[in-house]
Symmetry: C2
Subunit: 243 residues, 2 copies
DNA sequence: ACCTGAACACCGTTCAAGT
DNA sequence: ACCTGAACACCGTTCAAGT
């Protein structure tokens, strides 16, 4: 049960196989490369499966080689989180800043959501890893990002107190919605665009009449609308508290 | 680094020490007892430290003995989550149902918050463990609880569609707020009632002028007010969408 | 019936040694 | 400079054996 998919995989040692030696990629090692590989690994196999030894094997190297570039497994996970934050930075910085703060928050929120859905098995790390400082709230968990966020609002006329307040409510909103959605999505769904969530054994619901009756509505996947509705509401709430 | 607090602890074998034999408690084993001990263990040492072997030792037994009562470690963690859900059930069912649905949601929300703050190192499990079904949203993650919630609202005149909607927004709200607060709190704070969150090395902020300036407001612990404000807003939002 | 010893297949991590 | 072999101190889990 601890290794459903380990699969031993004999790999005959001598023969280099068809044409080029393809078993270990062996690009020259490098911290950034290791982290990228870790991201891909988690995307494919989940974070429980990520192991120094397995990651090494994937890079064509023994696990111990990784310690030249990273102090340990925890540090690697922190780097993975950081990598997602950088990805978000690239995704949002290419676009425009938005003509209003409302638009700015809308764009940023949707960028974060897309990131979460692109890496549903990594997002829980972004959400739950203990941040460097407790006021660095997930999912915008880097000094650079908080600075960026506060600057963005200031550019649209927010004063200090309102910026901080907006940072807090915005973070909480994103965390709740996206953690829920990403864990729902990482439940090995075949088609991520499905609008029906899998139901458990029909038997078990027999003792819960209300669940049985509301099974239809409950299993309806409505994350996108929920997100948009709650986001609009959040923005309205900020509007009101500012005036 | 993997064992800061393992401490070998020799324990001379023969001598039973002062008076009664106190090293292993040795109450007769039992699933409920094991789970209670696991809850206490995580409260004290964090979930990373929880190990079948260590938990066994704490119960005066070898790790393998636990497998008589639980199929494995994952199952144990699920039981821990379930135990918290039961604790919540006991806490809320003793009180009254509330004279209005607004009051009902208020009471329930505060009960969940108290649970999260009582077990800040366990709450992330409640938040992040993959639920049995994806529409079973944390932190009210049991069939019994969802049934209870929907029934509670129905008793106050909610129709099916509105109940489901309220269930969703309420869950998202609780998850976001309480996951943030519990992880902030489990950062080994000496005094949990402190209204100042710890700051990172003052040096590092030098490149982020806005953070440096807003350090005061940002490190202010305002979780309680945030929670209450957002809760009131959530309730108002439900009021409006229902009419 | 309930627990344990011994074993297995893994972990993360260190360090002296190889190239 | 960069990687590895061997080793250490752990894991979770199984199972035949003890009481």
């Amino acid at each position: 049960m601890t290794d459903d998919d380990t699969e031993e995989q004999p790999i005959q040692p001598g023969s280099s196989g068809p044409g080029l030696s393809e078993r270990p990629p062996r690009r020259p090692l490098d911290q950034a490369l290791i982290v990228r590989e870790a991201v891909d690994f988690i995307d494919e196999n989940g974070r429980e499966q990520l192991t120094m030894r397995r990651l090494g094997a994937r890079l064509g190297v023994e696990a111990m080689a990784l310690y030249r570039y990273l102090p340990g497994r925890e540090a690697l996970l922190d780097c993975v989180v950081e990598a997602l934050m950088d990805e978000l930075y690239d995704a949002t910085m290419t676009g425009e800043y938005g003509s209003s703060w409302q638009e700015y928050l809308q764009q940023l929120a949707h960028s974060v959501r897309e990131l979460a859905l692109a890496h549903p098995r990594i997002f829980p790390l972004v959400a739950s890893r203990p941040p460097a400082a407790p006021w660095l709230r997930p999912p915008l968990r880097s000094l650079r990002w908080v600075e960026e966020f506060l600057t963005g609002l200031a550019r649209h006329g927010f004063n200090d107190a309102d910026s901080v307040l907006a940072y807090r409510t915005f973070s909480t909103f994103l965390l709740g919605h996206l953690l829920l959605e990403s864990t729902a999505m990482s439940g090995e769904s075949i088609s991520p665009e499905d609008d029906e969530l899998p139901t458990p054994d029909h038997q078990d619901l027999s003792e819960y009449p209300r669940l049985l009756r509301l099974e239809g509505p409950l299993t309806q996947n409505a994350f996108a609308e929920e997100f948009d509705d709650a986001l609009e509401d959040l923005i309205r709430r900020i509007e009101i508290s500012r005036s």
